[in-house]
């Protein structure tokens, strides 16, 4: 969902840049609480993994593809503040080095693909995990739903920004309908990838998944047979 240069006008791009910068500042403070010696290495891995996964466009409809956004996944694995930073790092690397996502649209892209996906994804995840019986299955199922919802909501955030600063006169209703429609499909792909990734790490090292905090007792954390 990388927005190129020229879609959003300068004032709104700048405004989004300010929001993105403020969001990153908040996340840096939050990440300080989330990260310690044990969990910091996961952050680099999450960023690398999101970058790689975003290269794997999958077909969702005729002439249309999608790719993982990664905010929900990152938030569940390393926490929302760190997760948002990871995705933001990916977006910056993509914009600066790979010409993927306009430089003037970096603020827009960070707002939609890092901040919105993380906020929505993490809130949905936490809400579900709190409501459901505590188990690995609940964690994975909640991850699926959180990821699924985060994508179309993120696409609506784009539509909102386009409504404010879009450079072409279009029917916002038509754009919103089309965006949500295709991004629900992409959200299914996101949900599958997120659930599979979270599931595979929870199966072997639930202690390395931020989202298991609070349910640790139920996940039978056992010391590894190879003693530390």
């Amino acid at each position: 969902m990388h927005v190129p240069d020229g879609f959003i006008d300068a004032p709104v791009s700048l405004g989004a840049g300010v929001v993105a910068a403020a969001g990153i500042a908040v996340c840096l403070r939050g990440a300080h609480r989330e990260l310690d010696d044990r969990t910091a290495p996961m952050a680099g891995l999450v960023a690398a993994f999101v970058f790689a996964a975003q290269m794997l466009n999958f077909p969702v409809a005729s002439g249309t593809s999608g790719h993982l956004l990664g905010g929900a996944l990152a938030a569940i694995l390393v926490g929302p503040y760190t997760g948002a930073l990871c995705v933001a790092v990916v977006l910056m690397v993509q914009g600066i080095f790979f010409a993927d996502g306009g430089l003037s649209a970096l603020g827009v892209n960070i707002v939609t693909m890092s901040l919105v996906t993380v906020v929505v994804g993490y809130l949905v995840f936490r809400g579900l995990v709190t409501a459901l019986p505590q188990s690995k299955a609940s964690i994975v199922g909640s991850a699926f739903v959180a990821a699924l919802i985060s994508v179309p909501v993120s696409s609506l955030a784009f539509v909102g920004l386009y409504a404010l600063g879009g450079t072409t006169d279009v029917s916002l209703g038509a754009v919103a309908t089309a965006m949500v429609g295709v991004h629900v499909l992409i959200g299914i792909g996101e949900a599958v990838i997120t659930a599979m990734t979270v599931g595979s790490i929870v199966a072997v090292r639930p202690d390395l998944v931020y989202g298991t905090r609070g349910v640790a007792q139920e996940l039978e954390l056992r010391p590894s047979p190879v003693s530390a």
């Binding site: 969902m1 927005v3 240069d5 879609f7 840096l28 609480r33 990260l35 310690d36 010696d37 044990r38 969990t39 290495p41 996961m42 952050a43 680099g44 891995l45 960023a47 690398a48 993994f49 999101v50 970058f51 790689a52 996964a53 290269m55 794997l56 466009n57 969702v60 409809a61 002439g63 249309t64 593809s65 999608g66 790719h67 760190t82 930073l85 990871c86 790092v89 690397v93 600066i96 080095f97 790979f98 010409a99 993927d100 430089l103 696409s155 450079t167 072409t168 279009v170 029917s171 038509a174 754009v175 965006m179 295709v182 499909l185 072997v204 090292r205 905090r213 609070g214 007792q217 530390a228």
Partner: protein
């Protein structure tokens, strides 16, 4: 980093490298959802060229390498390496260190000793 966390990180990094370096060749090249809608609804005409279109990794292919598969694969590998290094650097810079390493989470409060010893 404990030995076991290191293994998880290395395995994960390997997966990322394989995905970006190899599997990405088979990715769909159809326009993504946003671009598709932009084309269909007509706002793609606002798009301007990227300021850094001439950079060596622009478009996820390594400039100067003729073989498509190799060019894309190397670009992917470089991207994974770059994001891993940057992400790790930021996390290490921002993390809590040493004595106050224990996370201030509800689950930890529940697990403090009966005497309420400070963690």
């Amino acid at each position: 980093m404990s030995k076991h966390t290191r293994i998880v990180v290395l395995v994960g990094l390997l997966v990322a490298l394989l995905v970006a370096g190899g599997l990405s060749y088979y990715a769909s090249s159809a326009p993504d959802g946003l671009n598709r809608v932009a084309i269909d609804e007509g706002f793609d005409k606002g798009e301007k060229d990227h300021a850094l279109d001439d950079s060596p990794l622009s478009g996820y292919s390594l400039r100067g390498v003729d073989n498509d598969r190799l060019s894309g694969g190397l670009a992917g590998i470089l991207g994974v390496g770059l994001t891993f290094v940057l992400g790790s650097a930021i996390a290490l810079a921002v993390r809590r260190r040493g004595a106050d390493s224990s996370p201030p989470e509800r689950s930890d409060r529940e697990s403090t000793t009966a005497g309420g010893a400070r963690t």
